[in-house]
Amino acid sequence: MILTVSTTHRPATDLGYLLVKHPDRVHTFRTSSGDATVFFPEATQERCTAALVLDVEPGREFVNDRAFAASSLLAAALNQVFRSALRGFSKDRPELAGTAIPLEISIPAVPGDVAKFFGPLGWTVTASPIRLEEPWGDSRYVDLTLSGTFRLSEALNQVYVLLPVLDDEKHYWVAPDEVDKLLRAGTGWLATHPEKRLIARRYLAHQRALVNQVIEPEEPDEQRPERPRPLAAVRRAAVRAALERAGATRVLDLGCGQGALLAELLADRRYTEIVGVDVSPGALETAAKRLRLERLPERQRARLRMFQGSLVYRDDRLRGYDAAVLMEVVEHLDEPRLPALVDAVFGHAQPETVIVTTPNREFNVRYEGLTGMRHGDHRFEWTRAEFRAWAEGIAGYSVAFEGVGDADELLGAPTQLAVFTRKEKS
């Protein structure tokens, strides 16, 4: 990993004074990530260049770019070897340290949108894309050269802050004193940067509490027009309405995900037993956190159970309920696996009522910019006729259909909902 700083200010060799490095010597430092070497490949009165080479020791992770691309490692090394220059302090050239001089900074492999962050600061940004092997196109890196007239300390501070921001991956522990570092390094330029909030967020590794110490949180804009109710909320309301019509009080939420529906059911006293089932242990953990399960009063807590389950295995724990909800679930299974779901839910668990929602593919043309399916994990999306054919083929249940969300006269509603009712047996 390498960074060079050049100036054409005369005498250019004064750069050595500003950096506190003699241009005719090789300076080596130990840093936590490997040896950093500073030397001057050119040093004339007209032009002087300082180079920082960080020889990153191969880490324990197997293959990554940390040894080659600019990142927080380089920023940390910069901070260590050019500490005085970053502070704007120069014993030998105090006046020059406070003067804007023509600078050129080059880094051969930088990830991210360099123009967005360096452009607004007044730099002339030259970024040549680095290509992958044919035929794979451009890599995520550019060969970056910044030119402009800045105080050296200002320029180095900007680079110091923005390299980890561009990489968006802090390689070190973000301690609260990072806030002070950011405030110090950002003096004079961060407050007016249009991307200041993004910069703070990334620099502080997305820790909201720290970010708010640097940048005031945005006030909610009261003038903002009311946004339409999201489809997911409309869908939950439709599912709850269907549950109420069925008179269900003991319900299964099969594929409960992060528990949005569970929360609404829990808030409604008519549901005496609520069971959230998901195949993902991670989703269940998130749901438990979001529902603040640990802190629920005992009475409330007793109404809700959550456990891992699968809709392609028969599960005795799911038998004997009033209703089961499969909200936006079936489309996450490969179609050939649906008979197993039908067997497990309708054949084995056999709730009195089953409510299934799934996208209506016909409606997709109404979503601008949508290509393919609505979610990366959807294995299929059905037209109304396809959904109907599947639903009507399920033995032992009668079925009624409705649309959810603002319907298009021709295309139908964005979400389709089916209510299955177990056929009466005496």
């Binding site: 197997f62 080659f68 992958l132 890196y141």
Partner: protein
Amino acid sequence: MTSVVLPELSLVALVGISGSGKSTFARTHFKPTQVLSSDAFRAMLADDENDQSATAEAFDALHYVAGKRLKAGRLTVVDATNVQEHARASLVKVAREHDVLPVAIVLDTDLDTCWERTEARTDRDFGKGVLVRQHRALRKSVKRLAQEGFRKVFVVADPSTVEVSYQKLYNDRKELTGPFDIFGDVHGCYDELVALMGKLGWEGTTHPEGRTAVFVGDLVDRGPNAPAVLRLVMEMVAAGTALCVSGNHEAKLLRKLRGRNVRVSHGLAETLEQLEASPVEGLEGFLDGLVSHYVLDGGNLVVAHAGCKEAFQGRASGRVRAFCLYGETTGETDEYGLPVRYPWANEYRGRAMVVYGHTPVPRAEWVNNTICLDTGCVFGGAMTALRYPERQLVSVPAAREYYAPARPLETPRGEGLLLTDVTGRRSIDTGYGRTTVSAESAAAALEVMSRFALDPRWLRWLPPTMAPSSTSTVEGYLEHPAQALADYAKVGVTEVVCQEKHMGSRAVILVARTPEAAEAAFGIAGPGAVWTRTGRPFFADAGPMLDRVRAAVDKAGLWESLGTGWVMFDAEIMPWSAKALGLIRDRYASVGAAAGAALPRALAVLDAAAGRGLDVAALRDRIATRAGHMESFRRAYRQYCWPVDGLEGLRVAPFAVLAAAGLNGVTRPNDWHLEHVDRLVAADPELFAPTRRIVANVADVDAVTDWWLALTANGGEGMVVKPLAGADPAGRVQPGLKCRGREYLRLIYGPDYTLPAQLSKLRRRGLGRKWHLARAEYQLGAAALDRFVAGEPLWRTHELVFAILACESEPVDPRL
């Protein structure tokens, strides 16, 4: 001498007042672990066996333990006074809950002796009045015991004269090992029965090979000639060439013959009419002697009329009998007014094969090691028999419909998988050893299996992980052939085959000759399937690939030589980029691009500095070395990438024949595998890539090393060393050890892993866990195919395949 004959499995309640000698009696006649004493439980809970305040809790715990013992099929003796009815009632309840017979042994020791003994004890301080009251309660109880549900009652006046012996249950005929011919429901269809017996080689009432007939019941009703059927079966049973369990129709006929008020329906009228015209001597006695089910062949076979779930096998109670005769019903009735049956067989997970009848089905089909043989002969279907242990079905068609069915024949819902087949912490006996799967790994595997994997009916095997050979000490190498050969030499393997390791994506290819062949073997019609190492479908549509593979199998003549309608191959599908393009671009090529920009720039700047006379030579050397490593790194991944379009450009390197009809290839020698895959490669050399290999002795280190060096010099992945004779799944030998190329390993450990400092760190890598997993997964896979080709039920293979996936979620260094 008083003889006490106990059923082998029973709950024995000792009944007697304090000081009657119960504990001494229990000590004399039973093992200490068989005896649950109320005193001991009081002591356990209250530190004092006389603390009466602990009595209720003590009995609660005692009943719980008794239940656990009975569930496990262990005789249990309860040492408590049991003179009060409520105490005995809870024992009868526990016995019934576990379908074992409650037995009472009353110690009728005279009151004075009891009092003497009680007075002699220092820890008992109650008055004689207590004893008198107990004695009065006992006297009242004795007569009522049978009514209370005790199936046997022994009253013992002098415990010293008692001799205890044991009696098998009537249903226990484990000593009979067959071979058996098991017949489905006959329903008076005498002609068909005779025809079927003839087809099975019976000569009259005996079989020349000494086979035993077993009738699943329902000999009578509906059909044309119940008396002749009864006479034949009764004669065979009397002669010892047949066994017969009771059907519900026999039970009803017996009640009718005994003059009970029975509704004459479901074909009983025909039987009564036929018996009137042609009486059968000894019929009532015969019917009365029919048991609900038999446990045969050391417990491997259970025959019952309507089936028998595992918990009821070899047990005796009213509900066991009801289940065996009538099956389990849901309590609902269907649109024909008939009871809805609960599909117990779908959930059956027992070890014993259960053969039954009762429910007419269109075809006899295996469901979880159970089979219903009632193919509705009397309704114009067929009469079916099962040859055991051959598992062969033989049937004859009905001459005509004798009786109209009340509802159409049911098609069974099929084998499904239960969540409890796979979840939670599990200890699995593969037959080659025991493997434990943690609950966390199972949970992780459940998500993958449910969301991404193929239908489990296809997915009968997953590739086990493969361990690298021990870490090499050869300078500059982390893995080296010398070590792989030494690893095998150490465990006594002499001949090995070294095979080129292809770098693509692992694929299991299952191809069926016809959809019908797939349906017959896998229970699912289709061309076959191709899946990845985690069970995902390899292709969105595997059809075109399977067509090519099928054509090659045709041409190679493998259907014939393997005698099969389907075959499963282990293979690598190349290029790597076909499946892993995203990974290659975003990780490997991306790092390559960054290094390709940064390192030359650094060198140029260093050269300029050197030109100024600065001493940067050491740094320049280091950077130049890294640039060289980077070149090797980029060369390594580049050779595994080429464009594909559909099948165009794809290469398949098959290296093992995993399974075919009746054949588990996993345990075959490796030259057998190579011979078969070579035939496949020859049949379609455009699609199939050959696998380079040499056969060597473990001492041929130089020859193998030269071969391997040539294979890997430019970043080739390396080789797999396998014992030529294959590896015994039960043994200690690894089925294969990989030995990866020096340059290839840059993709795994980073471009600079060959730097001496790096290498010495990496040499400390621990291989134990990986070696253990490789062996465990190999065993699981071998056992899965054993079970599959032996025709075992889906859940039996699935639990093993699932366990392989779970093992793959265990935390282990992914670079190994």
